[in-house]
Structure formats: C-alpha cells, structure tokens
C-alpha cells in the first residue's frame, strides 16, 4: 500500500504544512517541486566536487570519500525511520551486515558486476527488515529499540560463530580466485589475480568506486526528499508527533511504520552492498551494536529529521575516525611549528589527548556540545548562522 501513497505526492505540494516547512527552510519563493530539483542538483554538485573542496582538509582521497557516500546513504535511510517517524532502531547494523554478505555472495557465485550485487543486497536487507520489523513494531518507544538491538546482536552472534559456513566467522567472507562466478566465467577465463567488482567493465576501485557510490547517494538523497514531501512522509511525521491521535482518526499506523522500517533497512542494505563493492570483504564487525550506535550518532550529530543532516553527520564521524585518529605527535608539531618551541610543546600537550587514539574523546565532546546547545544537530547550527546573517542584512530576524 505504501507504493500508492508514494506516487501521490504531487497533490501534497501546496498543502499549508508543506508551505510552512518550506518557508522555514531555504527556498520559500520557489514552488516546492522546483526547489526539490534545485536542492537535489546542488546536493549532487556538492557531492561530485567533494574531491576538490575536501582536499585541503586531508579528505580528498577515494577511500574516505567512498565512506562518506556509503555512510551517508546508511544515515539517510536510518533517518527515514528515526527522523521521520520517531522510531529509534538500535539494530540497523544488522541490515548493513546482511547487505554486505549478500553482495559478497553475489560476487562469489554469479558475477563481479556491482549492479547485481547491490540489487541483491537491497533485496536481502529488505527481507531481513520485513521479518525483524514485523516483530519489533509490535512495540514502540524503548521496547522497540531494545527489540531491534536484540535482533541485531543475535544476527551478529549468528554471523560471528554459528553461521560460519555462510559468513566465515571473524575472518570475514572474502572472494577467492576459485569461486564459481557462473556468469563471469561463461564469458571469460578467470585471470591470475583476484577479480575486482566492476560496473560493466569499469573497475570500481579508487575514484570510479567513489563516483559509483556518490551517484547512488544522490539518487538516495533524491528519493528521501520525495518520501519526505509525499503523503507517506506526512503520515510518518504524523506518527512522530502523536501516534494515538493518528490512530483515532482512523489510520492504521503499523503498515506505514513497517514500510518505513523496510525502506530504511533497504537503504542500509544498499550501504552494506556498497561497502562490499568498494572492498570485497564482509565481516561480522559490521553487525555489532557499536555500528548500530554509530548511525544513531551520525543522525543526531547532523540533525534528526532533516534531509542533509544525516549525510553531514556521517561525513563528520568518518572524518574524525579516519583523519583525527591518524594524527600523531609528529603531525601536531608540524601543525604548530609557527610557535616558539615551548609554546609548541604546550599546544601539542594540550591537543594530543584529542587526536590519535583519543579521537573518541573528541567525538564524545562534540556530541555533548551538539546535544546540549544544538539539539537539532549541525543543521540547526547552520540554520542559526544563516538566519543570523540574513537578519543582519535585512535588519529583521525572522526564520525559526
């Protein structure tokens, strides 16, 4: 039933609530659908030029940008459930992991073509989400969170030590030269080296891998935007504001929630599949509760319920994890070499607990600051800055 709701979003374009949201947002003067396209186009532009504008802060290399895009998708999908409907799932990593395993099995059995793998991982994650969601959504609030957490930990332990023929346990599922790969081997002889996932001949490592992920991120972003602006999205927001009232008006909320849960699980599956595409290895780590917690952090850090927030949150987290953890004292000394030696040592002494293995500390502090001062996440911070500058220019502080 969700499909029919999804396609009827055009009717929603001029509803008062929609207009309010748009006015509070960025482009009130454009009609909703045009501004949607404009926003998607700007987003695409920003994503595809990331290698250029992220290079100065040390993030202009393929692997981290792939991670930005992949975890952006993961957080976008999580936000459909958590941000739109208010249901906090603590087990989304299960779908990420399921997607990864599905993709690697596709590489092993059928073909190194990424399209097949990604499609299969979305399907598998969707089925997974349907099963888990069907049970978990019988409860709401904390009970729902605990149920999803329990299912995710169950999946993790199954992948880690029970289903080892399928998952290869802790070592992780890897492709090998001797895999059947039925489709590929019909057309060409297996080479001496390990095959690499490809997109109809383009090997998806390094930059091509990034652009593949980035394209899917832009598509995912656009889809999320359409969902948000659709009647279906409206229903989810209504559930978030008051599920009981929604029920009293004669709507059955469960189907909407289940649809949101499955969609967001499929996003996670897509992200998991892409992780396997850019690096054909799937480990049980991806299903662990820390991975589930990570996506919650990303979403809250960026801004719950906003479109752009989760993507930004994901990028910030991956940046901290990758770049901050690599700073050692040598790097710090170089950063502060404009100071006198004593001051240099002092500055290095102050900053070194926050970098290297201390990146978790930085993340924690940042999270606390965001939750205390900016409950709407980084997006709220940006909005405040924007309205402050606009207010100064126009001489009147409107906005939210």
């Amino acid at each position: 039933m969700s499909e029919t709701v999804l396609t009827s979003d055009k009717a929603m374009g001029k509803s008062p609530a929609e207009k309010d949201r748009k006015n509070a947002g960025m482009a009130g003067f454009l009609s909703s659908s045009n501004s949607d396209y404009l926003m998607a186009a700007l987003f695409a532009l920003a994503i595809f030029t990331m290698p250029l504008w992220l290079a100065p802060i040390g993030a202009g290399y393929p692997d981290i940008l792939q991670k930005f895009a992949i975890f952006g998708i993961f957080a976008l999908g999580f936000n459909i459930l958590f941000g739109f409907s208010g249901y906090l799932s603590f087990g989304h990593a299960a779908f990420l992991g399921a997607g990864s395993y599905a993709a690697v099995w596709m590489f092993k059995l059928l073909s190194m073509n990424a399209v097949l793998a990604v499609a299969f991982s979305i399907v598998i994650a969707g089925i997974f989400a349907l099963a888990i969601g069907f049970v978990s959504l019988r409860r709401s609030g904390i009970y729902f969170s605990i149920l999803t957490l329990a299912f995710a930990q169950m999946s993790y332990n199954l992948a880690y030590s029970v289903l080892t023929p399928i998952t290869n346990g802790e070592t992780g599922l890897q492709i090998s030269r001797t895999d059947p790969r039925v489709l590929d081997n019909m057309f060409r002889e297996p080479g001496a080296a390990l095959p690499v996932p490809d997109f109809f001949g383009i090997e998806l490592q390094g930059w091509p891998g990034f652009y593949f992920c980035a394209t899917l991120l832009v598509l995912a972003f656009f889809l999320t935007m359409r969902i948000k602006n659709s009647t279906f999205g409206m229903m989810l927001f209504a559930i978030k504001s008051n599920q009981n009232r929604m029920a009293y008006t004669g709507f059955s909320t469960r189907p909407y929630l289940l649809a949101a849960f499955v969609i967001s699980g499929m996003y996670a599956g897509l992200a998991g599949g892409l992780l396997a595409v850019t690096d054909p290895l799937a480990g049980a780590d991806r299903m662990q509760w820390t991975a589930s917690g990570e996506v919650v952090l990303m979403t809250i850090l960026g801004g719950v319920g906003t479109l752009l927030g989760p993507v930004i949150g994901a990028a910030v987290m991956k940046y901290l994890e990758q770049i901050f953890s690599s700073f050692n004292e040598g790097v710090l000394h170089r950063a502060f070499d404009f100071l006198t030696p004593e001051l240099q040592d002092l500055m290095v002494g102050i900053t070194s607990p926050f970098v290297g293995e201390g990146w978790h500390l930085t993340l924690g502090l940042m999270f606390m600051i965001v939750v205390i001062f900016l409950p709407g996440g980084i997006m709220e911070g940006l909005r405040r800055i924007a309205s402050a500058t606009r207010g100064r220019r126009a001489g009147s502080g409107d906005a939210n």
């Binding site: 981290i64 030590s161 070592t171 390990l194 480990g283």
Partner: protein, 454 residues
C-alpha cells in the same frame, strides 16, 4: 563518403606499432635497477622522502601491544635516518643499510588505529596508501587484521611487513606475495612447547582449551592440540570465547568439573591478562588437584607486556615467545639498550618484531636498489640473515615465513624488577620448528599486480 583525417592509415599503424614494440622491448635491454625505477608502481616515492605506514591497534584488547609496536617503529625510523645509536643496524648481517634513509630518501611515517577490527584496519591502510602515499605498510597484533590488511596490500601493490601475528594462516592458507612475516607461528609454538610440557607435566594429562574465537585462536588451538595429543595427552574440550570478552568466569566455571587437569589458554593481550588472572586468583586453579595431579595452566603464546598485566598470576606459567630482551646475544643487548634509553623500558617481543621488519624492508630495498615491489620481494625471498636477536634466520621463499629459534619461557617465581618477569626455559633450535610449507596450502599470487598506480 567524406575522408576522415583521424582514421589510421596503414603506414601510421605500422609506424606506431613499431614504436610501441620498441618501447616495450626497451626495458629488457637496460639493466634491472635502471628500468625498475621507471616502472609505474603504487606510490613510487618521487620527492626526497619515503613514507612508511604503521597500522597498529591503539584501542581494543591489543592496545598495549600496539603502543609498544609504535614505539619500535619510531625507533626504527630514527635509526634508518641515521639518528640515535643505530641499534640493530650495526648488527644485521649481511646488511646494505647506510643510515641515510632508504636509497638516500629520508624516511617519514604515518600512523593509524586498526581498532583490532578488519574493516577499520583496511580503511586505515587505504588512507595510508591513497592519501599519504605510503610505500610499505606494517603493523598487526591481531592475525585477523593482519590477514585482512595483507590481502588488501596485495591488491593495491604495496608491501606488507606483518608485525605481531601468530596465526598459521598469515603465511599459510592466506599467504600473499606482498606479505612477509618475521614473527613465529602457532605451529612452531606447538612444536617447541610440546616436549617441554611432556617433561614437566608428564604424558598422561587431560587438557581443556579456552580459545579466542578467530583465526589465530583456531590455528593455535589446533597446533597445540596436535602437539599435545602426539605426546599422549587427551583433549577434554575446546571452548571458543569472543575476542575482547572482558569477563571469562562463565567459561572458567566448568573447567574444574570437567575432569581436565591442564587448562590451555589460547588468549593473547588483554584477553589473556583477564582470563589468566581470573583462573588463578578468582578460581584459584593452581592450588587445586585433579586425580592426584596438580592442576596446571599453560599459555602457549605470551609476552613480557602481558606478564606485567597479569602480575602475580603469571608465576610458573609455561609458554613460548618469539624473542626476549634478556636473550644473551649481541644484537638483543644492543636493541634492548637502544630501546631502553629512548623509552625507559625494555622492548616487548611485539616491539622487536616490528623494529626488525622495518629494518629488513629497508635493507631489501637497498639490496634491490629500487622501491619497485617485485624486486624488493625477490630480495627478501630466501634471505638468510643474522644479528637481529634470534640467531641465524631464514625468510623462506615458499611462504614468506621467517624460521629461527623458538623460546620456551616461564613466568618467574622471584622477579627482581618489573621488567624481569619471564625466564627462558629452553631455546628450541630452528630445525625443530621448521615444517613443510605445503601442509597449510594457500598460494602466494603474482609478483606483478596492477595496484593503485593503474
């Protein structure tokens, strides 16, 4: 039909193919090192520095080992750049090292946190290769991570000099052409430890294994089982415990009632510290008797760092080690002194193997006269050397595993200071620990890979 000027005439085709052919043939005419420099390969250092990537666990159960490995790497870089006292650069035989960096280029390094997770370790290694242009990756402390990073390095065409990894698989079924391991493995531990166990505890024993649930634990359990069952021991049960479990009481509770009289802890790092302490202090296993025999605990792989963590519990426990700073040879003394002066504590075996790996890589590059990985690999394969603290050592070409003496150690009853916690019971000669490379299967793969340069 209009004439297309961009079309290839027969003449142009002939000319071009002749030129291409000549170009392809050129390298074979010139001498080896000269053309290798011109090869396009991953992260060919172009400036006056060369970057090495040190990927160690800075968080998780192996964080202590990781910190010590990092200290050793920094010391090795210092020595390679001609700073400090030179350490084991002075004792390595045969050596091509000059003390002016590697091939005249100053050595720089980048570090990363593996978090003892394959995903994080691969991401970190990729950053080193893609963003920092590292020509070689080293590090480890978990075999699962080492294997994952090793296969990544093979794909990207960057050499991997494994740090502490003890699983048979690293140079067994998961070996790679671009990966090398100096550390010994579980099979060697079993071969070395078996006879000592028989001597100390007799041939009629019943063993209970607790095993870290990943590649290293599995292969060590298998190797120790094979070695002890060969002596006539019986294995009562082998239980897998999750990595980083923290509390092992639920796994230790059934041990005493199982009829076993020896507990074998296939744990390492923080896990071993926790499980051993719990077994000795909380369950008081070492004062128990089973069937008239004293209950014994064996930790097949242990180190000074873990002994420090376990404290009293480690006294009298038998195990094996790759190296110990108290070994009586010139190189070990030089290294222990150099490390001690720098950091105020003697090096652990993890530190030792990482230091040695860095020097061996640099030496192989100097010998090959190029950074081009296939040439460096050939320089390391079958390399026979001495003066790295383990006596005469061979880097076997068939599986890239080092073969050298194995130490059987025991926790000291009366330690004189906090760094003197282990005594060497026996030095098992290299021949006894050597095995046929084919028993573990696996294949090394090609020398030439497309790598990240493509």
């Amino acid at each position: 039909m209009p004439i297309d000027p961009s079309a290839w005439s027969r003449r142009r085709l002939l000319k071009t193919s002749a030129a291409v052919g000549a170009g392809l043939a050129m390298p074979h005419v010139l001498i080896r090192s000269a053309w290798a420099q011109d090869q396009a390969f991953c992260n060919n250092p172009s400036g006056d520095t060369v970057t090495l990537g040190f990927n160690v666990p800075q968080s998780g159960p192996y964080a202590d080992e990781g910190a010590d490995e990092l200290r050793a790497f920094q010391l090795a870089v210092k020595h390679l750049n001609g700073e400090g006292d030179g350490g084991m650069m002075n004792t390595l035989q045969p050596s091509s090292l000059k003390g002016n960096g590697i091939l005249g280029k100053k050595v720089a390094y980048v570090t990363g946190d593996t978090q003892t997770k394959s995903d994080a370790a691969r991401a970190s290694a990729k950053r080193m290769i893609e963003a920092d242009k590292a020509i070689m990756i080293s590090g480890g402390s978990s075999s699962g991570v080492a294997i994952a990073v090793q296969s990544l390095c093979q794909d990207m065409g960057v050499m991997f000099m494994a740090g502490l990894t003890h699983s048979n698989d690293t140079t067994g079924k998961d070996k790679r052409r671009y990966g090398f391991r100096h550390f010994f493995n579980a099979y060697m531990s079993g071969q070395a430890l078996g006879p000592v166990l028989a001597e100390e505890y007799g041939k009629d024993r019943r063993a209970y294994h607790l095993t870290a649930d990943y590649t290293w634990g599995w292969t060590q359990e298998e190797s120790i089982k094979n070695a002890t069952e060969g002596l006539g021991w019986e294995t009562v049960e082998a239980v897998r415990t999750p990595l980083g479990a923290g509390d092992f009481s639920q796994y230790l509770t059934p041990v005493l009632n199982s009829g076993a009289d020896v507990l074998i802890l296939n744990h390492y790092g923080g896990d071993m510290v926790n499980s051993l302490r719990q077994a000795v202090t909380q369950f008081d296993m070492r004062s128990k008797q089973v069937g008239g025999k004293d209950f014994q605990i064996v930790v097949p792989l242990f180190s000074e760092l873990m002994a420090q963590g376990a404290g009293e519990a480690v006294k009298g426990i038998l195990g094996t080690a790759n190296w110990d700073w108290k070994l009586d040879n010139e190189a070990s003394k030089v290294f222990a002194k150099s490390f001690g002066e720098e950091y105020g504590s003697p090096p652990s075996q993890a530190a030792h193997t990482c230091y040695v790996q860095t020097l061996l890589y640099a030496n192989a590059v100097e010998t090959a006269g190029t950074f081009y990985p296939p040439e460096v690999i050939k320089a390391l394969e079958g390399f026979e050397f001495d003066g790295m603290g383990n006596g005469p050592t061979l880097y076997r070409a068939e599986d890239h595993q080092c073969f050298k003496d194995v130490l059987v150690v025991r926790g000291k009853q009366e330690p004189t200071n906090q760094f003197d916690l282990m005594e060497i019971v026996k030095v098992v000669p290299r021949d006894q620990a050597t095995y046929d490379p084919s028993i573990f299967g696996g294949e090394l793969g090609p020398y030439e890979v497309k790598g990240c340069a493509a």
